[in-house]
């Protein structure tokens, strides 16, 4: 008995998913727990595995389709079974690309026996702008565009009078049609090739980043505290550790970055200044007894923040290993949603990109994020002499609703003591 498979819920907050790739073709046999497709959710690319045994009889939505939770995506049953009825049943409820492909031109209205005025026949879809130059779009489309961060200028509308309607965005998401040049633009010399703006559909991750960071900047009152520490002791400690590890383990010695030492120092500082390890909620301030550090990792089309749990109880080497594993899986989009949730404090390090210092956007509901710059070589004053030395700047962004200036400052003072006298980091 053939059955329809619906888009499953693959993350706690998932409302829709994009089929990144089908791993089975129509006609393939399917076993329980076989990988059917990869689905990009708001958090990560997830595996969509089969709960059924049989043959994949129909794929209802092609690669790249965005499908709402619970909407039909495929049919599984016995080989050779007639699924036309099921296909029809799934029909209108399935994702739209197929039906949206050839945009119907005008509605032919037989208005003679309709009381209310029927819409005037639409001109062929072209410039979807009103006389004022404002894109002509349905209210629902405007809402979707806001949510997805899309600009409607240049989108061709298939509705009456060229109105941009919901299905036009669906086809945009699936096939990114070439866009008309903006109104009033100057014709360009074709010798320069295609100079038009390229529009890329928003990935699920990009939507999530846009939504969460906008929300953070709009609702969380940020303030910023910066320190600039003496980097020489940390540099010397790292050199010594690398030498010693190499001496005993040779080629197989684990790698150790400034960031690994820094993460451990942050964890210790949070234990010492627990009021900085806190979150604001609507009716209470939450002070966390666990130290779970979110570590920002750049990936191909965005960034993710996997969490190093209980960092205060892990050794520097354990932290180093874990961060490398998390970062690799993040770049491969193999992180599980729960590995990116529940941090209490974030660290973002752009030192490897040559950034001296910067300030970061808080990752709600966490109360603070530490933005770390590169180890700079520069002249420093030692005693009465100017000598070559190392400095490192870091900026703490705090949610003022839960962390006040003095608390942030106390945390940074503790962190400075740890980093300028770093051998103690190894004791915890």
């Amino acid at each position: 008995m053939a059955k329809i498979l619906d888009m499953p819920k693959l993350s706690p907050t998932m409302e829709e998913g994009q089929i990144s790739a089908w791993h089975k073709k129509v006609g393939d046999s399917v076993g329980v727990d076989d990988l059917l497709a990869e689905v990009e959710t708001d958090k990560a690319t997830m595996e969509f595995r089969s709960f059924d045994k049989g043959t994949l009889l129909a794929i209802l939505v092609p690669d790249g389709s965005v499908v709402k939770l619970g909407q039909p995506v495929a049919i599984v049953g016995a080989a050779g079974e007639d699924v036309s009825a099921l296909v029809a049943q799934a029909g209108a409820a399935s994702a739209k690309p197929a039906e949206a492909a050839p945009a119907p031109a005008a509605t032919t209205s037989s208005a003679a026996h309709v009381a209310t005025a029927a819409p005037a026949p639409a001109p062929s879809p072209a410039a979807s702008t009103s006389d004022s130059g404002r894109p002509k779009a349905s209210p629902y489309v405007r809402k979707l565009a806001r949510e997805r961060g899309l600009a409607l200028g240049g989108v061709e509308g298939s509705g009456p009078g060229g109105r941009i309607v919901a299905r036009d965005l669906d086809s945009l998401g699936a096939s990114s049609p070439a866009h008309a040049a903006p109104r009033g633009s100057v014709p360009r010399d074709p010798a320069h090739g295609d100079r038009s703006t390229e529009s890329r559909p928003l990935s699920m991750m990009r939507k999530t980043i846009a939504r969460r960071l906008t929300e953070s900047k709009q609702t969380v009152p940020h303030f910023y505290l910066t320190i600039d520490i003496d980097g020489d002791p940390l540099h010397e400690l790292r050199q010594k550790l690398l030498e010693d590890l190499g001496a005993s383990l040779g080629e197989g010695a684990p790698k150790l970055s400034f960031n690994d030492l820094l993460l451990k120092a942050v964890a210790i500082a949070l234990v010492r200044v627990p009021s900085c390890n806190a979150s604001f909620s609507a009716d209470a301030l939450l002070f966390h007894r666990r130290v779970d550090l979110s570590v920002a990792v750049a990936v191909e089309d965005g960034l993710v923040t996997p969490v190093v749990r209980d960092a205060d109880h892990k050794s520097v080497l354990e932290i180093a290993r874990e961060v490398r594993d998390l970062a690799k899986r993040a770049r491969d989009k193999k992180l599980r949603p729960e590995e990116m949730a529940g941090g209490t404090f974030s660290v973002s390090n752009l030192g490897m990109f040559g950034i001296d210092e910067f300030s970061a956007v808080i990752n709600p509901p966490e109360g603070a994020i530490l933005a770390v710059g590169q180890m700079r070589r520069e002249p420093v004053v030692r005693g009465e002499a100017i000598v070559p030395g190392r400095r490192m700047a870091m900026t703490l962004s705090c949610d003022h609703r839960v962390i006040d200036g003095a608390v942030g400052a106390a945390f940074l003072a503790e962190l400075r003591k740890l980093l300028e006298h770093p051998s103690q980091i190894l004791l915890y």
């Binding site: 029909g91 209108a92 409820a93 039906e99 119907p104 031109a105 005008a106 509605t107 032919t108 209205s109 037989s110 026996h113 309709v114 009381a115 209310t116 029927a118 819409p119 349905s138 209210p139 629902y140 489309v141 405007r142 809402k143 298939s158 509705g159 009456p160 309607v165 919901a166 299905r167």
Partner: protein, 342 residues
Amino acid sequence: MSDTSNRELGSYDGPVREVRFREALRMGMAEEMDRDEKVFILGEEVGHYQGAYKVTEGLLERFGEKRVIDTPITESGFSGIAIGAAMVGLRPIVEYMTWNFSAVAFDQILNNAAKMRQMSGGQLHVPVVFRAPNGSAKQVGSQHSHAMEHFYAHVPGLKVVAPATCADAKGMLKTAIRDDDPVLFMESETLYNLKGLCPEDTDFTVPFGKARIAREGSDATIISWSRIVHVALEAAEELSKQGLEVQVIDLRSLRPLDEEALVASVAKTHRAVVAYEGWPYGGVGAEVVDRIQRLAFDELDAPIERVTTLDVPMPYNAKLEQLVIPQASRIVEAVKRVAYRG
């Protein structure tokens, strides 16, 4: 079909009986008359004639002349009597032969029933039910084909309901009789013979202000009430063949109006058609459109359409009458327009 009849009973799971719409109304009245000595019915031909449309058949024998009262043709007079009796504690049910004739009692309903609570500063109230068939019948001409809910739903102080199913006919009439404010109960001559399952439980009531989902679907919403709900379901079947699954909302209560149901449905389908009897200028349909555009503006992917009685007095000629009354074919076309399906 079994799907739609299941939807008619809501969450009720007690004993049911298949009845006609008129019997469901009669059950509702008889049960309430058994329950409350203060309930009585008056109107033209309700007693010895057994009801112009046989809704009150048998009630005279059962409850006697004291409680089933034939009136002369004096709509204003007996409406006023019912209002006066309700003011001092009785719970009358007024049957008009049709809602058209309530026009001569309009002053009583507008100026006395709807205003009593307010102009007495809350000292008095009027627990009265006015009920009658409403809307078009078959070729009864312009004076006998009015959809009167539009006139009355405009008036604060009144409640207006218009059920489409046998279960609602009984459950909502009982709610109306128990209500402490005036309730205008809209029936339909062409629904009286409709068969449907009706709860036998004498405690079964249907609250006002809660719409019923008569059919599930996600491509568009058809909002309707009373007889046209059945026309809308017919249109939905046809649309389904054409690949569009529409949700049909049976409003059943026009004032109060279930805004939440409207918003929830449009949030799901992003398109709406309101189909009903009544002229296009103003009225309940226009009110429904206003609520949707105001409360669910961002959800709309198309302008809301209305399928109404054409803007002319009802003609007698059978073909012209069918042209003027909302038909499934017109609903189908309207849904396709809002779904941008040429």
